[in-house]
């Protein structure tokens, strides 16, 4: 179903027997997967399942204990500077500086990413993400939904080929969350970007992702297309599948 090992170099993200241990405890325990170009993949799992650690290793922020990650052909974290300008991310663990205006923040990051024609790119993103009227306000004065859109604008500044999103709609109201998802869909369609999305929101994953990787205790418990997961577990929604996995029900038991 997924590309074979020899296609690793062609895969935008290839994770191979990845392990991360903290003081002997495995946060990620020997996971492997490869993403196809232009795909949106959901990384599901409860708290402590290893999603954020996996994403951090893909970004090169955390060094694996063993195994490897390649992003756009570069081995992470050793060769990360070959590809960091071609990827970006959004995470609830980081903020853009609150005292700077939205425009100042975006222009600083645009310069860091060597974006060509910075003003035009910022104006375009601001229009796309409905931020134009907030561009000259301090970021800290914005609402949670507006701040999320600023973080998303920062993540899209360099038109990343690989976009990593950790809970991109956490703490947003349903309307704003839906709005963000539609922008992500549009971005993927326009740029053919590969997106890896960690989320607790099953509706979000069902809507955006063509593939779902479910993690539990640092391991991959299941990995398939959403409709195939639903039929295998005999469930109506991914939330029910998620609960089956989280509570340790096997597929055969769940299907009964």
């Amino acid at each position: 179903m997924f590309p074979p090992m020899d296609a690793q170099n062609a895969s935008p993200i290839a994770v191979d027997r990845l392990v991360k241990r903290y003081k002997g405890v495995a946060a990620v325990d020997g996971i492997s997967f490869r993403l196809t170009p232009g795909s949106v993949t959901g990384l599901l799992g409860g708290n402590g399942a290893g999603k954020t650690t996996t994403i951090a290793m893909i970004m090169g922020l955390v060094t694996p204990t063993s195994g490897g990650v390649t992003v756009l052909g570069a081995e992470m974290p050793r060769q990360r500077y070959r590809v960091l300008h071609r990827m970006n991310f959004e995470s609830p663990y980081v903020d853009v500086p609150m005292r700077l205006t939205v425009r100042q923040n975006l222009s600083v990051f645009a310069q860091l990413y060597a974006v060509a024609d910075i003003d035009e790119r910022i104006d375009r993103l601001a229009a796309d993400l409905d931020l134009t009227e907030f561009l000259d306000r301090p970021t800290g004065k914005l609402s949670a939904g507006q701040k999320t859109r600023v973080s998303l604008a920062k993540a899209l500044l360099n038109k990343p080929e690989v976009l990593l999103l950790d809970e991109p709609t956490a703490s947003l109201d349903p309307d704003t969350a839906d709005w963000v998802r539609s922008r992500l869909e549009r971005y993927r369609a326009e740029e053919s970007a590969t997106i890896l999305l960690a989320s607790h929101n099953m509706a979000e994953v069902e809507r955006l992702c063509e593939r779902v990787i479910i993690m539990k205790k640092g391991r991959i418990e299941d990995d398939d297309k959403p409709d195939l997961l639903l039929s295998r577990y005999g469930r109506e929604t991914l939330e029910e599948v998620f609960l089956d996995v989280a509570r340790g029900r096997r597929q055969s038991e769940a299907a009964q």
């Binding site: 951090a56 970004m59 050793r78 060769q79 960091l84």
Partner: protein, 272 residues
Amino acid sequence: MIASDVGMEFSFNRVAAMVRRYWYLLRSSWPRILDLIYWPTVQMLMWGFLQVYISQNSNFFVQAGGVFIGSVLLWDILFRGQLGFSISFLEEMYARNLGNLMMSPLRPAEFLLALMIMSIVRLSIGMIPVSLLAIAFFGFNLWALGLALAAFFANLILTSWAVGIFVAGLLLRNGLGAESMAWTIMFLFLPLTCVYYPVAVLPDWLQYFAWALPPTYVFEGMRALLIDHVFRPDLMIEAFALNIVLFAAASLAFLKLLQSARAQGSLLQTSE
């Protein structure tokens, strides 16, 4: 070594982006600017008036005019230089922005150079007005030291950056739990580098430690200039040589601590 990588070309454009980021922050907040000026002013006034009082009762201090004020101004270059570096770094932790920077194409060397530039910017905002006040209140003209001042400044700022780089590594590795180091580490230098008294005052065994620290040579050189009216280039060269060693050691420590932070997963979560 994690930080060394293929394609790791240095970009002054990214350094400029970071300097711009800190400049925006500084100019957006008048308390931040006031903070750069008020304490050096208080220090200079206190030591200046103390010197005036003592000189009225001592021939030595009449001859050694300005030695206290000179000491306090040079000490502030050392202390404020490191603080300016470390506070800019801390601002990234307070803002939870380190993850964004570490995930961006910004290289560690570019980040550190931007912090060094900001340390000079912050130092200038504080020290230039204070040095002018020293002329107005006490007739002490720091700028009249000319080339000697340039040598003193270069050596002190190099030491302050080396200490700042080491502290930044500690902060990356240990999060805000190491924050107090940023505020207090330079005070270890205060007694040992003999800011306000000659090295000869120290016990013999402690003098070895004092002479291992570059600022000691600067403060001795300043006293030679203000008291004996002799500029000692030999002291400045020795200080510079020690600074090169200190700077290299601090940079190496920073890279090791960054490597350790990646191994420990502390770059995303930098709280205490």
